[in-house]
Symmetry: C2
């Protein structure tokens, strides 16, 4: 037993110390609770699937990133998102599901990207989707941002804006310019607007051999400004006769109306005509979410409406809408930016410290009393000096230490040490409980 | 888009329908809550690790089962348990951890076993471990079964028995017979006692060229009967002078005393001298847990004390003790045996059903009123007939439907439909809340 293997994790794989893990789990719990509050059902698909199934649709960049391998004769892949497994799930269990099928899944996905700061190869996605059988009412396009509105408020990351758009408006607009075929290339350039600026976008569009007039029309379209109502007005005033465009306007209007009916503060959502997202996938409403104080984090929660979830597995028409929080990346960025701080996050509120191990019964009686009242309680059993016992609580950030020695046992009391104040008092365990629950 | 891929999961990979997933998640929540109540900190190590790191110790059967593959030039493996990653974690983050380090991890692990009924290739383990720096007090050997005692009571799977033993007793006993070298072979045979019976075990032992006298001594040792106190007495009366044996007896006695001090009902734990577990790994106390009404499920929760967690990564002495619930297998077996039933498990307690979509504001006001009072609430927005709307609640097992139409809006009330009674009443939302929280 001499040669040691260096204990290390792979680059691009986030692993947290306990105090950060506690913080991360609190965010997961908040998201999960938020999703469940709106009636989404939990799902937990396998991490490994048949490559044939998982890659039915993939191609290009995505496929290169997949963790794919043989086990015996079987060609396997690790899931790279939660949408493809959802499609497979709904197609496979179609007869057992109740529609509209509202599910959430909070799971790790795997992508062998070139590792770079803030990019991960294994990361959590927190997805919700609503799948209709044959049809799905447009009002669900407003329910999704409503859920996100509530979840992000609970996450307490400051003011945020849900940016929304409708792909039909973009598609119809480009079709009216006779640019439908090249629209996905144009959209790809437009997607860079935030990053490279207006001039560079204009230049790239001109390089596509678009006439200066058309480029102007595109730029003017993208620069439509104002409140949501003003933007809608401007879009209508363009009087584009394209039927897809008109349908997109109608849909967006209805979604905005629903958001208003849902009494979501208007400063929290905003039409953004530059949002295209998932170029071949989304077909209607699309979303991105920006933290107002930290726009450079980019979209922290994105999604949209798709016409058909599972065309690769079934003929059944399954329209849906979904959104995803990329939690690992978000968590990492929030930490980096100092927006969240783990500090001394801990699980236990109380550490019970026996002076010696002569009276485990009373020690346990006290510890279990707190546990039974919902207070997480640790006990330090190591035979060390009192200083080291207290240090354990201090390093873990446990706010209260309950010391039990001869005196405490005789008087059927405990000594409560408040770690932040440095005070110590002899109290009954009931008084300690009262003290803690009052806080 | 014509040729379809058959949507299916791999054999040995459990995937649940939502009503079962809800039940499964409830068990995970109960276990997690139980672990946290005793001060265990959460950990979430990566699913993928360097093969060099993960397989530092593995060999034989385990290594054959590993999902191992190359990505570019990197030799990767999926974790096959949570103990090796814990060892790597503690060695890697040694300076940042507070000892004794109490952690829990509830994660999937992967083993490419030959699939058979009730055996899984991807399954959840729910582990707790307590790692000491240089030393770890023996009383933690009693804390682990105490945690399990509380967790299993909360899981409500009926009466259970934690069987315990101490490897030192076994090792010392075999050494006293001059059988230390072959003790692991003997233990392997003894492990089969429950399955193949006493006669077959005796025969196999005789085949090992043990004298009939020694076989008798072994069989008599294993057949020691009685209460825990009686068993301890019998063990002492054997008057085996081996120092390891004597130490094992002392340890077991101390653990039993602590369990008594902790006021754990004695019918819940029992000395079982046939338990050996993880032949090269455990060095002291060992545990198994049996559901009394379903002994044929075998041990549903096992673990023990090990002298050194991370010898492959560090020279630091890291003694520890841990235990693991194999939740996927347990869940599957409980379902198969009819011990747990998913029935109509659901997330939402209320389904709000608008008669039409003319008044989303009031519908949302009502839904959010319940949500803000901690009641998970779904809204059915699809434009379908009332019958179909009610069917959604029925199929999902949502117990209450709140119908909102013109009358309800005008009177600022709602119609509460109790799905089990079939009754319907016009009530204020406050009355509905009272009705639900009273239950």
């Amino acid at each position: 037993m001499n040669k040691k293997v260096t204990p290390k994790t792979l680059p691009g794989f986030l692993e947290l110390l306990p105090q950060d893990q506690i913080l991360f789990n609190q965010m997961v719990d908040t998201i999960r609770e938020g999703y469940e509050q709106f009636g989404f059902l939990p799902l937990d698909t396998p991490t490994i699937e048949l490559s044939e199934v998982l890659l039915a649709k993939a191609g290009g960049e995505t496929e290169k990133q997949i963790y794919r391998f043989m086990k015996g004769d079987t060609d396997l892949s690790l899931r790279f998102d939660l949408t493809v497994p959802l499609a497979r799930y709904v197609a496979e269990h179609y007869n057992d599901l109740v529609f509209p099928f509202k599910r959430y899944q909070i799971s790790k996905v795997f992508r062998g990207e070139r590792p770079q700061k803030g990019r991960f190869r294994e990361f959590y996605q927190c997805d919700i989707d609503i799948i209709g059988n044959e049809s799905l009412d447009l009002i669900y396009d407003a329910e999704i941002p409503m859920v996100i509105y509530h979840v992000f408020q609970k996450l307490k990351l400051g003011k945020f804006t849900i940016r929304l758009n409708n792909r039909k408006i973009l598609n119809g607009f480009f079709r009216s310019l006779g640019l439908l075929e090249t629209s996905s290339d144009i959209l790809r350039i437009i997607d860079k607007l935030d990053k490279i600026g207006e001039e560079a976008v204009r230049e790239e569009l001109l390089k596509m051999e678009l006439s200066a007039e058309k480029v102007d029309q595109i730029m003017n379209f993208l620069k439509i400004q104002g409140s949501n109502a003003e933007k809608m007005q401007s879009l209508e005033q363009l009087e584009i006769q394209d039927e897809v465009y008109v349908q997109g306007i109608e849909e967006l209007k209805e979604v905005l109306q629903a958001l208003q009916d849902f009494q979501i503060e208007e400063s929290y959502y905003q039409i953004d005509l530059t949002i295209a997202r998932g170029l071949d996938y989304y077909t209607g409403t699309v979303f991105e979410t920006i933290l107002d104080d930290y726009p450079r984090l980019g979209s922290v929660c994105s999604g949209g409406r798709y016409e058909n979830l599972a065309t690769y597995y079934t003929d059944q028409a399954l329209p849906g809408i979904g959104i995803s929080i990329g939690l690992t990346r978000l968590f990492y960025q929030l930490k980096e930016a100092g927006i969240i701080q783990s500090g001394k996050k801990t699980i236990s509120e109380i550490l019970v410290v026996p002076m010696d191990k002569t009276n485990n019964t009373y020690v346990l009686e006290v510890a279990n009393y707190f546990r039974n009242h919902g207070i997480k309680t640790d006990v330090y059993y190591q035979e060390k000096g009192m200083k080291q016992k207290i240090k354990y609580a201090d390093r873990l950030g446990i706010p209260y230490v309950v010391v039990i020695g001869e005196t405490e046992i005789q008087e059927k009391k405990v000594s409560l040490k408040d770690m932040s104040l440095g005070t110590q008092e002899l109290l009954s365990k009931e008084d300690v409980l009262r003290r803690l629950t009052e806080k």
